[in-house]
């Protein structure tokens, strides 16, 4: 036993007391230094075996250690006395940490992107402003056709392009199909999420500025049966309901043939009938169909070589359904009392 050893024990004692947090810690320290086999106790026990000259130096130092430990224990005991032994209130509120919030349409969009990219679909944004050609003509919607009435359109006052082709706020994400097919060769798998615009009055279920997600899958033999599989998978994953079913009803879109409306079994009642699905058990989810040969032609692909499906789903609508939001206008209200719920 040397002076150095004593110093290092002293250091340890100080360190140990720096870390004391509970009465248990204190007991452990007592045991370590002053217990039956405690380090300080052992030094004191061994004192009588030491030569006198050493005894004179080590003795007082060992007593100092003894004092140091006892004083500290006394000090901490007083401190812990006021704290009830076993009482720890876990019901006290945690420290407030301010959380931000992601917009519900972004959440829905991210989820859709995650699911589709997992199935090998690329993701592109498309353009919110479009030429009349991309928004209509290329999609087999000629100017004089009544089908144009299906899309109430915002037209842009064009005093800056000096071009003949008129400019519109895209009425759907479908022009993205044409852009994508012009730049890529099949096999094609892509989704196009983004804002779309319709010139119509708003109410609880209509909005003039809303988000859609376009989908396109083209190869040599992509069929309606394949569409059913991809969309069922998507909706099941999206809703978290493995038993979700879909049905196709005939419809008409100039850019698909055949065309259908896709209904999904009601996410709330799972097909039994409730107020959300107006007791039909089904909810209208999206429009879809097999890409029209004229669209392939407009995009520069040979319709004899390729076929595939396209669909368009309203992201706002998915958000309304997923979170049970009653009024679509809340989405663009900027109201933090609404936003903080997501």
């Amino acid at each position: 036993m040397s002076e150095n050893d004593i110093d290092s024990i002293k250091n340890n004692i100080e360190k140990d007391f720096n870390c004391v947090k509970s009465k248990e810690d204190l007991d452990a320290i007592y045991e370590k230094y002053l217990g039956k086999n405690g380090e300080v106790v052992n030094i004191l026990k061994n004192l009588r075996n030491l030569p006198d000259n050493e005894k004179k130096i080590i003795g007082p130092k060992a007593n100092e250690l003894n004092k140091l430990v006892r004083e500290n224990i006394f000090k901490f005991q007083n401190k812990f006395k006021n704290e009830s032994e076993n009482f720890f209130d876990i019901t006290r509120p945690g420290k407030k940490i301010k959380k931000g919030h992601i917009h519900p349409v972004s959440l829905v969009s991210s989820k859709a992107i995650e699911i589709f990219s997992g199935m090998g679909f690329s993701v592109i944004p498309g353009y919110e402003l479009e030429t009349e050609w991309y928004n209509f003509d290329a999609l087999n919607i000629p100017a004089d056709h009544p089908a144009r009435d299906m899309w109430d359109t915002f037209w842009i006052k064009d005093d800056f392009t000096n071009k003949k082709d008129k400019i519109v706020l895209r009425t759907h994400t479908s022009p993205g199909q044409v852009h994508f097919m012009q730049k890529n060769n099949p096999p094609l798998r892509v989704i196009i999420p983004g804002r779309t615009f319709r010139h119509e009055a708003t109410d609880a279920s209509h909005e003039y500025d809303f988000s859609q997600l376009e989908g396109l899958m083209v190869d040599e033999n992509i069929s309606v049966a394949n569409f059913k599989k991809i969309i069922t998978d998507f909706l099941q994953r999206f809703s978290g309901n493995k038993n979700l079913k879909i049905r196709l009803r005939p419809s008409f879109f100039p850019f698909t043939e055949p065309s259908f409306e896709v209904d999904a079994s009601c996410i709330r009642c799972q097909g039994k009938g409730c107020s959300l699905c107006k007791n039909t058990g089904w909810m209208e989810i999206m429009g879809a169909g097999m890409v029209h040969p004229n669209v392939f032609k407009a995009a520069g692909l040979n319709p004899n070589n390729y076929q595939g499906f396209a669909f368009g789903v309203g992201l706002d609508r998915l958000a309304l359904l997923k979170y049970n939001i009653g009024d679509i206008r809340l989405l663009k209200s900027g109201d933090m009392r609404f936003l903080e719920q997501f």
Partner: protein, 673 residues
């Protein structure tokens, strides 16, 4: 369109399923049902007729579909009448078609008619379908229209000048007084039905007052015509008048209907002498349409093998016939009323929907695997949402528009912002040139409920002056945000801190803040920093002008804003950055404080410290700043570290000495260790 269940029943001998069941069948095989309502002893079924199915704006058309779905044979309405040989139509009326877009013009004449109330049955059908009863003649015309789909128009023959009709396009602007007593301004090129002197009717859209049938009418001419859809649509859109007739013509109807319909009309009349013969001008009768249908393609497109006998049965039930079969292809003759069928895909749809889409089983596609590419901006937008929401920001999504008022208040220029030609209201007159204006609106509307506001948006903005040669040039993806507290002098630095956090979250480190004297309608001068990377602007941090906040109605709030070019950010974020080895040797921290005049920029001091160019200085950190006697004291930690060895005081002292020397060169700066 509204359909009468009872009228549909007249097309079948077999009893139809009850109205609800019938509606369900129609819903799953053809059209969406919008409503079903009991009306007396009839049912009104409201159906959303798809715009390509002009043939189904009639009970006949829908009955054909029902016949195909149920397999019930279709019974055509009875046509039975007797011409009165005393009168011959050719002696009573002359017709000339001089506009080629009048595909067919058919007229019959009835003399000595007695205008009265119509038959009870007809009245009931009209009522179910939501049409008012007027008199026997008009009611029968309307009835034939809803029954067969052919709009008819009845003229008072005696009111037609010189008993002569010409179908022509207008050579110049002209006024037209319609049956509803409204005057319409017609344009050059509009197609009209005219007597030598006056316009009798606006072709395919509306009859005129001049030859209106009234209670004294004795002789009538019944027009049953077919016009090219686009001409009717054009005029009807221009004068903003949609009628039962114009809607049908716009959607294309079978030119073969004209004679059938006019005959049906006269056979429903209860009195009058039907003049012998019919005027029927039909110059360019289209050749029968044949579409080649490859049998293999049916299964390929639908993803189900349908037996050939089912395919043939379906086609037959819908009125298609097979003209020949060659090498796995059917040559299908299209009935005249199916003007929507042009391609084999159209036929495959007919087969698929009639067979039942529910019979097609989901099938995993077999297609080459390729790693999907996700647009950088879309990918990074998600990361930014997570990063910013993590530090308390709310994401908003605002409208892509700003109002006329916003434009005027902020002094935005027509040469910059893009105007909507047909806005819903002046609230949405322009496309947003930035995200900030709408974020200010969000701040204002949330102030009553929140004292601390942190919001951001990622979205497209539109600026005309970005136009080069493509319309897409004017679209710009931005990320902007606003922070608002009740009176806080450090707002700018909070926003700058957010910008730092954001850039670091994206892995971007080599950026600089620069002073900029920007002429702006929004940013306050002298409180604006431009963020640069490699000499390129990527965004701004600053304080909005007080006048802007006043105009936006935001009072007594301190606000800071940031605004990034998100396309550029996402490109920079995507660039690779490399891991740098962590030094094995400890760092040594020395502090230095510098007393400088109040208007000294911290960055200038930092630059000088870095000018020592010692590669042992790893970082310089401002940790304290306070004002004292008209000066400010800046305190920095200077962190030294080597990758090769443990540094000693002797190695660092000369560097500190050098720092002091450099800083002392500026006489107004007083460094102290």
């Amino acid at each position: 369109m509204v359909f009468s269940y009872n009228l549909l029943q007249t097309f079948f001998q077999k009893k139809l399923p009850d109205a609800k069941k019938l509606a369900d069948l129609i819903g799953s095989h053809v059209f969406e049902i919008e409503g079903l309502e009991k009306k007396g002893n009839d049912w009104a079924i409201t159906i959303d007729i798809l715009p390509n199915r002009g043939d189904c704006f009639s009970h006949l058309g829908l009955a054909r579909e029902i016949s195909a779905i149920l397999g019930y044979p279709l019974v055509m309405p009875q046509i039975k009448f007797k011409d009165d040989k005393k009168f011959n139509v050719d002696n009573l009326l002359k017709v000339k078609v001089s506009d080629k877009d009048c595909q067919r013009y058919t007229v019959k004449v009835v003399k000595n008619i007695k205008i009265s109330n119509s038959d009870k049955k007809i009245k009931e059908y009209l009522q179910t379908c939501g049409l008012n009863s007027i008199n026997n003649v008009v009611d029968i015309a309307n009835f034939v229209m809803i029954e067969l789909g052919q709009p008819l128009h009845v003229f008072d023959l005696d009111k037609i000048d010189k008993n002569s009709i010409i179908i022509k396009s207008l050579a110049s602007k002209e006024k037209f007084l319609a049956l509803d007593s409204k005057e319409y301004g017609l344009n050059e090129g509009d197609m009209v039905i005219s007597s030598p002197a006056k316009i009798l009717a606006l072709a395919g859209i509306k009859g005129g007052k001049i030859a209106e049938v009234d209670n004294n009418t004795r002789d009538i001419a019944i027009e049953s015509a077919n016009f090219i859809y686009s001409r009717i649509r054009k005029t009807s859109n221009k004068i903003d008048l949609k009628t039962d007739a114009s809607i049908r013509f716009e959607h294309k109807i079978d030119p073969e209907l004209t004679v059938l319909s006019v005959n049906r009309f006269v056979s429903l009349l209860e009195n009058g002498n039907i003049a012998k013969g019919v005027i029927d001008i039909y110059k360019n009768k289209p050749a029968p349409k044949i579409v080649k249908l490859e049998i293999e393609k049916i299964g390929l497109l639908l993803g189900i093998e349908i037996p050939l006998k089912n395919i043939l049965a379906i086609l037959k039930s819908l009125g298609f016939s097979i003209s020949k079969t060659i090498k796995g292809a059917l040559f299908v003759k299209i009935p005249t009323w199916r003007l929507d069928i042009n391609l084999q895909e159209d036929l495959i749809e007919e087969i698929g929907r009639t067979y039942g889409y529910d019979k097609i089983n989901a099938q995993t596609p077999i297609s080459a695997i390729e790693a999907p590419r996700i647009d950088d901006a879309i990918l990074w937008a998600d990361r930014v949402r997570i990063a910013l929401s993590g530090i308390g920001f709310f994401e908003t999504q605002n409208y892509s528009f700003i109002s006329q008022k916003n434009k005027e208040e902020l002094g935005l220029l027509d040469s910059d912002i893009i105007e909507i030609l047909n806005p819903l209201s002046s609230e949405q007159q322009y496309l947003r040139p930035n995200l900030l204006i709408n974020l200010f609106k969000n701040v204002k509307s949330n102030l009553p409920y929140y004292s601390d506001i942190k919001i951001f948006e990622i979205g497209n903005v539109f600026n005309k002056d970005d136009y080069e040669n493509k319309i897409y040039d004017v679209i710009d993806l931005r990320l902007s945000g606003a922070i608002a507290h009740k009176v806080d002098s450090d707002m700018f630095y909070e926003a700058k801190g957010v910008a730092d956090y954001l850039l670091k979250s994206l892995g971007i480190t080599d950026y600089f803040y620069k002073d900029i004297d920007l002429h702006s309608n929004i940013w306050k001068r002298n409180a604006l920093a431009k963020i640069e990377i490699n000499g390129e602007d990527i965004g701004y941090v600053g304080i909005p002008q007080k006048t802007v906040l006043d105009k936006m109605g935001i009072v007594c709030q301190d606000i800071a804003i940031f605004d990034f070019d998100f396309s550029k950010l996402s490109i920079l974020a995507t660039q690779e950055y490399e891991y740098e080895d962590i030094s094995k040797y400890p760092a040594i921290i020395r502090d230095i404080s510098v007393l400088v005049p109040l208007d000294t920029k911290i960055d200038d001091v930092l630059q000088k410290i870095n000018d020592t160019a010692s590669d042992l200085i790893k970082d310089v950190d401002l940790f304290d700043i306070f004002e004292k006697d008209g000066n400010k004291s800046l305190a920095f930690h200077i962190i030294f570290q080597s990758k090769e060895k443990t540094l000693t005081g002797q190695e660092i002292d000369p560097i500190m000495q050098k720092i002091i020397e450099i800083l002392s060169k500026n006489q107004n700066w007083k460094p102290r260790i």
